[in-house]
Chain length 221, copies 2
């Protein structure tokens, strides 16, 4: 039986708690904030200050060998203060991230989880599903071919994040399960719409759908 | 009423046909081969040689300003000879692509469409759907926020191809509609499986699913 992600998180915090000096600031770099910031605040001893933080930067690689000294330069770092957050602790954690070159943005922890569910967790789940679909198509319809050997930049870019840590993404998905489930359902509806347009041979509908995506995507670099 | 893709293709070929010298080779760079190679072979005058070609390289940008002199260097180019293909014409087209630095692979036109449906057309459709889902989530659940402004490398990479030409991808999707529809359905099943694991809180199942994707994706760079 695997420990649940929150169990693992709690166990780490409980192990650290007795060693924290009065006035110490506890901060993190987790990808989910709502349930964890709440739990951190409940678990630390009196006098210890909690500041939730999420640097939105990372790679599909893990471990010391994958370290990069400019990982946070010009990256976004989201801090998630609550009504309990100490303003001085918040300011210190902000300075820490700014010193690493990050742009700091503050956000409610629950809003954070909805935003990141959509813009980060959902794309990861979709990438894992795409790679596994390629395996299925190969097994069922193209045995003997190595489908990935025909990949151009499109597939490679869109599945790069499928090489991310399975354990980390399992935990993120479970922590942010409710947001993610409703966002997956919206995605299914959107994909279902394209499928319906394709079935109907609706060239104008497809142009409209693809143009909308292109225009939105071109708003960022 | 829009012209169907095949109509556009036919019109171009019909306009060129009277100007082709005897022995001329007609080749193309289209992303779908099955129905088009067949049509090309049926439409060219006697003595004209058809060779279907698909360089698997490109960018989300179009037009002369987006040209790149090394676009085809080390890229894959798939040639799709049929029983009617002239071996000398095939060899010449192969030399042309090799001179551009491409690695040439020969494949049956129908197999080509299934392979590229999976490894190229499907990822494009999924990227268009993802960007439009982000728009939906923003409108419905996070009005006032610009969701894309919180994007890290994951979303950016996985949606880069959503900025591709809507007209070109409309045509590719319609040409390869049957393969694409069945592949979208396999994708829906795979995503549905992840959704079920999430709903059940099945940590081991999620780890298995994500690990399988990671292992397969790491087989290519």
């Amino acid at each position: 039986m695997l420990a649940t992600p929150v169990d693992t998180f709690e166990a780490t915090l409980r192990a650290c708690a007795p060693r924290l000096a009065p006035g110490a600031i506890v901060t993190d770099v987790g990808s989910v904030k709502g349930p964890l910031v709440e739990r951190m605040e409940a678990l630390v001893p009196a006098g210890i200050k909690v500041v939730g933080a999420h640097p939105v930067a990372g790679k599909e690689k893990t471990g010391v060998a994958a370290a990069s000294s400019d990982l946070f330069r010009n990256a976004l770092c989201i801090l998630t203060p609550t009504s309990q957050t100490d303003p001085d602790a918040l300011a210190k954690v902000r300075l820490l991230w700014e010193a690493c070159g990050a742009h700091v943005h503050e956000m409610d922890p629950m809003v954070h989880d909805r935003v990141l569910g959509a813009i980060s967790h959902l794309p990861h789940v979709l990438a894992f599903a795409l790679v596994n679909t390629i395996a299925m198509i190969q097994e069922r319809h193209l045995p003997g071919l190595d489908l990935q050997s025909f990949a151009g930049g499109g597939y490679k870019d869109s599945t790069r994040i499928a090489a991310s840590s399975p354990e980390m993404w399992r935990d993120i998905c479970l922590w942010n399960r409710n947001n993610l489930l409703s966002q997956i359902e919206l995605y299914e509806a959107r994909l279902g719409h394209i499928k319906a347009l394709l079935k109907a041979g609706d060239a104008e509908g497809l142009t409209r759908e693809f143009t909308r995506a292109k225009q939105l995507r071109e708003m960022i670099t």
